[in-house]
Symmetry: C2
Subunit: 122 residues, 2 copies
């Protein structure tokens, strides 16, 4: 990922919130949806955008897609993600999102998937 690509990924509010959340670790789409409070189609499209531009990757876990920050970030990406994480501590929206994330029942996917047996995720 080169610089322009990175900034293009981060210049949308929804994507920025997604990346902020993914910095805490992998998440399935419905958890992101729940935290963001945005419609499924919107979240899915922005995740697709981030994936196509190399900022995140996906894996499958039964019915869920687990998104995470790209495994081999370029130096520029590493630097910018670190910078973002720094800046996020001062940002009320980001902090609210992180608080919501903590309140979610994370025994859901992908953890629950490993246990089998959960019918519904979110």
């Amino acid at each position: 990922m080169d610089l322009i690509n990175i900034y293009e990924c981060l210049c949308d509010r929804t994507r920025l919130r997604i990346v902020n959340l993914l910095q805490q670790g992998p998440l399935c789409v419905c958890h992101l949806q729940a935290v963001l409070g945005e419609p499924q189609v919107k979240v899915s499209k922005h995740l697709g955008y981030l994936k196509n531009h190399g900022m995140v990757s996906v894996s499958r876990e039964g019915n869920w897609r687990i998104y995470r920050i790209a495994a081999k970030p370029t130096p520029a990406l590493t630097a910018n993600l670190a910078c973002l994480q720094d800046c996020a501590t001062e940002n009320p929206i980001f902090q609210r999102d992180l608080a919501r994330l903590r309140k979610l029942d994370l025994t859901c996917a992908p953890v629950a998937a490993k246990r089998g047996s959960t019918k519904r995720c979110c």
Copy 2:
């Protein structure tokens, strides 16, 4: 300047190159034009964009407008500009721009304006 604003300013190649150049110090429009090799209207508009979004400020020096990075950057801006400068060292386009900048006759504006007497800038 909040994060989104910063990323919006930086997500265009021309603006990114401008900001990279301005990190070296104030510059007049025609110098930017010369280094970037872009039409006047394009440079001027992107400078206007950066100004309206609070990333740069302008001053007048005779016939020239001198642009510089905003005087009182927010913490987020400071962090991102530092990050950008780091990343710029690995970027061939940025390095080429900086090389071109060094080759310019900087006895022009605003230096020349202080001396008076120069008819043409670029």
